[in-house]
Amino acid sequence: MRVELRVFASLQKYRPDLAGGEPLDLEVPEGSTVEDVLAGIGVPVSEVKIVMVNGQQATLKWRLRDGDRVGAFPPVAGG
């Protein structure tokens, strides 16, 4: 199945190719979780604190479906 992934803020240091705002289109095995997908592209899941799937809040354990759009955020705390 195919999913679309965006990583935000400081997570982009692990994938500078995603800093331009374009999503990464990925072919992943059926039954993959958000955690599986992030680990698979080299983003440490321990640094991910907010997960969004299709514009709504989800979790790292969220099981993805074909066509899902995933966003991952680290803690953002500055002011």
Partner: protein
Amino acid sequence: MGSVRYERSIILPGWGQAGQDALRNARVLVVGAGGLGSTVLMYLAAAGVGTIGIVDGDRVELSNLQRQVLYGTGDVGRSKCVAAACRLADLNPEVRTVEHCTRFSAVNAAGILENYGIAVDCTDNLGTRYDLNEACWRKGIPWIYGAVSEYHGQVSTFIPGRTACFRCLYPVAQEETARHPRGVLNALVGTVGGIQAGEVLKLIIGLGKPLAGRLLVWEALPAAFTSFMLDRDPACPICGT
């Protein structure tokens, strides 16, 4: 009373003298007078919010001036609270400021929030946001969340009894892991702080639709706004049912 000072606000559709009067009677607490606080405080004061509380226990440092545009070089070493109040008095002497020259915490949260109708989060750590969230939920006070890091900013309006709360967004406490302070695009605090100030004014006057139940994200490098839905977590220890 009409005022030349506010005429460009008063002529706005939906604002009028009634809206301006509502602002004059409003009491808003701004927690943190750093980058976001600089923007929020100046716009609230310029708009004519009648009473503005300022919470900050720090002093102005030279490295703050890159983004904390409330202060000048001559303010380095001064209490941020005091320097901010002086700047706002110059900007708009019709506004009353209340200085809380201390660090906001779970210990003093309830006392500081007393007598304020809206709070604005301009803090720089998750722990203080948890304290602000819990205290606002207990008192039923809406608060406007804002956070920045490098080229990334986030905003949301949390309304007790109506929306998810900050603990639903960040269920697990963990600060940013950087060992050194992160950089921040200075204009980003203007973008995020400006949205926060606008949300405060809208809430007071009852204009439009608040950024409630949504997380607005601004990525400066690709110049992209994205909005995500925030649902209440039924298991949330603060707002769950």
